[in-house]
Symmetry: C2
Subunit: 450 residues, 2 copies
């Protein structure tokens, strides 16, 4: 059985508007559920993902996508990393089940109050978390994003319009059908999660600034930029992940090499991988150790003249490419790293300010005062001392799951989990009080925070 | 003495860019101050505002603005409410001093942590509040906004580009000179607060999406809309304040009349004043009492046919104007109110959803279950039960001061005080840990929240 609801035929804004309107209404019903019932919904999705016959369906659908993807890979039309991310497996489905069960058990934000204040006797103000409303999420190949994002949206009472990569179409359809069946079985409108299938529908969705409260864009930098430039809806995401590792004077050579390799090589395409290494003349030993370790991992090093000079005097000459001004602006996303010498902390801060993308920046130093200044002065979502930039991740931060990483400053910054999917309302309960009775020379406010 | 720094001659984006760049740098120095020093800065501004000779200067400058404003008022070019808001007085200056001293004493957000979590032994994650960076604030006549907004910006370590109404130019200059003198006396760059004086400079400022982190727009709805449509910088503000008061079946007549009069008449131009009254057939007594009280206050009532019929049968006939469809969309901002009968809660919710501006909505009812549904289902920054919409205000909420009221859903909603002017960074302190050592089958995360 494979029912896709919350969909449409028309590829125009009118069609998407109807989908979004239905989703919003359906989302209200999810938000109105008791916390237990919402948790039960997530558990039921986990149960369905663990069910052998549903698994069979999902893996069969995914196998169809994989056949097409491997053919495209053979023709050089799809890169192998993307093909790998497309694959579902029993292990991946197990991980998804675990994630959903953890999310079900996580504390509820809806129904709580982040502030309670008596303005006066019998006049109670409350700041109450509530869903944003309707989310539009556009993401690339990984089909496991469908239940992950759906779980986060349902946990926070939000409706969801999802558009995945076309390579994952069969997988995404099967996963959405599973979600719809669970929703329907619990008496909820499956339209709360709508899968968009056509590329044109993204443009139509971006026009609905009166229907969609937040767009989450996950994909290439140019795609995220396209989304940001083509909508009045707030967009959460990152167009760029240009992260730096700065080796200060006394940086320990072994630590520098280990962190540099992890930050560059463990997943070079990740947004939290580093693109540039900065070092001071006093950190020469750390530079040399890092450069050797990176070259051992097959990293191409693009270096400034001072770096070249420092490494040229090594006994075994290292293979180096000269860096151009362009390099400091470049997010390679591959096993290439630029290296530049700076005179000290101020020049490092200046370089990061000029070229960084406000994602994640790290320093290696044993000098606490220098570390404190770096942590205080770098303007980025993540600022790390003696740790790899690769820790910048919702799972690693212990946020549960994440819908994306934001390099914007407002609302949510860095890895965004459930907290980024809620806003709040100010609720005021009185007994007929009017504002003109209060103020200077009249009745004073109590303002007692509870 | 009247020194204006942080200004420029060029009316082009390049000039404003230089101003914004200097302001940002200067803002960092304010953010880097110890909490005590930042509090001392606010106290020093309050002291300067209390100083008799500075007061003399301020009131003289304001008197010059008032002469021009009264002339413009006589010619019908400036409305009298605006002229009233322009006037400074010793009492207003006293209130400003009080506000600044309260803000100085209020808890600091900078330097605190909103989350501390051990990811592992010796790997400590912290979510640390930090300034947004540089704020662009555009506001209308009221010159008291200058020290108020400056106080909020300095408290949160933000730089500020301010553009006030041209009617208040002399007053704003004098107030800015006072702020600059205090900053300079404490060894800070006065460029952290820059006063823009030309209308063209607003457009130039709106182009600087790489220099300015948040625009706060206060003024007419059409002006706020102009700002929203002409910048890629996030805008905080409200283009509209179309608030409703809903009288449910059993609404108490005396309470309804009292709240209706307060919500409409105490300050009709305020964004939290009501524009439409909704009532059910069961709330007829409350409607009649409210209509009589409103007419007594000189309010023009624009009513639907059912309302007209309900009020026509009253012994003394009431003066009523028929409402057109246009009325439900109209923010009068004056002593005019539209009234519409609805069949019950669902139709009221539907009306508010369709015509409301997500600002503040109120219900009057003795039925707790109905109140609970209204509070749960209305999507607005403020949702009130048995209280006037006029309570929607930063001072009344006990937030100290406010930079504005936001009808957007992201980041900050409703009255925005200091919390809306900060964002956060994720700080991670380690001992050389790398991410690839952690994960399934490897070292587990501790994730111990402190």
């Amino acid at each position: 059985m494979s029912t896709i609801e919350g969909q449409f035929d028309a590829k125009d804004a009118l069609g998407i508007r109807a989908v979004a309107t239905r989703a919003r209404r359906a989302g209200r019903a999810v938000a109105a559920l008791e916390a237990d019932a919402r948790a039960g919904l997530l558990t039921a999705i986990a149960d369905a993902l663990a069910d052998p016959s549903r698994r069979e369906e999902l893996l069969t659908a995914n196998a169809r996508d994989m056949v097409d993807a491997r053919a495209a890979e053979a023709l050089g039309k799809l890169d192998s990393a993307r093909v790998r991310r497309l694959a579902l497996s029993p292990a991946k489905l197990d991980a998804l089940c675990d994630g959903l069960r953890q999310l079900a058990a996580a504390p509820e934000l809806l129904g709580t109050a982040t502030l309670q204040r008596e303005l006066d006797d019998g006049l109670l103000l409350e700041r109450a978390p509530c869903p944003l409303g309707t989310l539009g999420v556009v993401f690339e190949a990984r089909p496991d994003a469908v239940p992950q994002i759906a779980g986060l949206a349902l946990k926070t009472g939000n409706a969801l319009l999802l558009k995945g990569g076309s390579e994952a179409l069969q997988s995404n359809r099967a996963l959405t059908a599973l979600l719809h069946d669970v929703l329907r079985a619990r008496g909820l409108d499956p339209g709360v999660i709508a899968l968009l299938e056509q590329r044109e529908e993204i443009a139509a969705m971006l026009e609905l600034d009166d229907c969609i409260d937040l767009v989450i864009a996950r994909g290439s930098g140019s795609f995220v930029q396209y989304v940001q430039r083509n909508t009045k809806i707030p967009v959460l995401g990152h167009a760029e992940g240009l992260c730096h590792l700065y080796l200060h004077d006394d940086a320990e050579a072994e630590m520098a090499a280990r962190i540099a390799v992890d930050a560059k090589c463990s997943y070079p395409a990740a947004c939290n991988a580093i693109e540039t290494l900065l070092w001071t003349p006093g950190a020469r030993a750390a530079l040399v150790a890092s450069a050797r370790a990176l070259l051992d991992q097959g990293v191409t090093l693009r270096v400034c003249p001072q770096t070249r000079a420092a490494l040229a005097s090594e006994r075994a000459p290292l293979e180096l490419t000269p860096a151009s001004a362009e390099d400091w602006h470049t997010e390679y996303g591959s096993l290439t790293l630029s290296i530049r010498q700076v005179s000290g902390l101020d020049e490092a801060l200046q370089h990061i300010e000029t070229y960084g993308s406000r994602h994640t920046e790290a320093i290696i130093t044993g000098d606490e005062a220098i570390a404190r200044r770096f942590l205080a002065e770098v303007d980025a979502a993540g600022v790390f001392h003696n740790a790899s930039t690769r820790f910048a991740d919702g799972y690693r931060y212990g946020l549960g799951a994440e819908v994306g990483i934001s390099t914007g400053k407002l609302h949510a910054r860095g890895p965004v989990g459930v907290e980024g999917l809620v806003t709040y309302r100010w609720l005021l309960r009185g007994r007929g009080q009017v504002a003109s009775d209060y103020g200077p020379g009249k009745r004073p406010f109590l303002h007692r925070t509870l």
